[in-house]
Symmetry: C2
Amino acid sequence: MNRLTHFEDLCRKKGLSLTVQRRVILQELLERGDHPTAEEIYEAVRERVPGLSRTTVYRVLDTLVQVGAARKLSHPDAVVRFDPNVERHHHLVCQQCGSLVDLEASAISNVSIPNTRKTGFTITDYSVSFTGICSRCRPRKSRKE
Amino acid sequence: MNRLTHFEDLCRKKGLSLTVQRRVILQELLERGDHPTAEEIYEAVRERVPGLSRTTVYRVLDTLVQVGAARKLSHPDAVVRFDPNVERHHHLVCQQCGSLVDLEASAISNVSIPNTRKTGFTITDYSVSFTGICSRCRPRKSRKE
DNA sequence: GAATTAATTGCTATTCTATATCAAATGGTG
DNA sequence: CACCATTTGATATAGAATAGCAATTAATTC
């Protein structure tokens, strides 16, 4: 089923209003392949929703996370990024420029779940962050430079 | 070799001054077992260094990351956290309260490195973030509550 | 150990990210 | 279409981080 439709069902179930803003912001998040900040979403969506306020974007994105339609990303930056992919998957993070791209879970074999009985921590999922250098940041090998 | 001494050697090699601030801030970071923000470091260290400024704490922490004496943490929050552990290790992150604790690399078996030749991304390391609920956030089972 | 020079710090102002508050607007429901 | 709860937008504000520049400090040379 369509992600947007699924979200609308979720909202009805939870008694959340189906506002234009929520629909448009989720749609934008689903359409792009990256992991935008609230500000980036705001810039991308503001012309489609007259009078849209930044505050609403922040709030809607939080709502999306709450209902499980998106996730906050872990990234060594001082800005929250959002990821519409809520399935298990992993990331390639460039140490140089901070760019972040997805890696399907199938790209690696399953990770062994550690025993955390002693600490009382209940593990429900995991995500691997592979660090390194992306193609754009890597010094070119070509002799003609 | 002592981490602090090693850092001092690194500074000499790179032509960086061995300032009181750099030494004290690194020492504080090494002594505590958590993953503090710049602000937390500032609060902890300010009485030991008269007239210390926040700006310096931010700058020194960045320097520590640059020379490889610390790392910026990936955490789904809007604040940068610093980790003095630069060896491969993993994290338990509580979805509820955001608390983050270390997990030695030996706690899990090696993760298979995916083939990223097509994308041109060169992987140098990885870190697994296990998400779930920490003991403090998990609803108690005890009937007496 | 004093003088010189380059790096670093502290101060102030400022930018950027995010949240609080509350009246106005909108969505859901009968 | 009228009602009520929810959500939004505007404004103000908090909090995190950086920029610019003068004053200070560390390293170097004599």
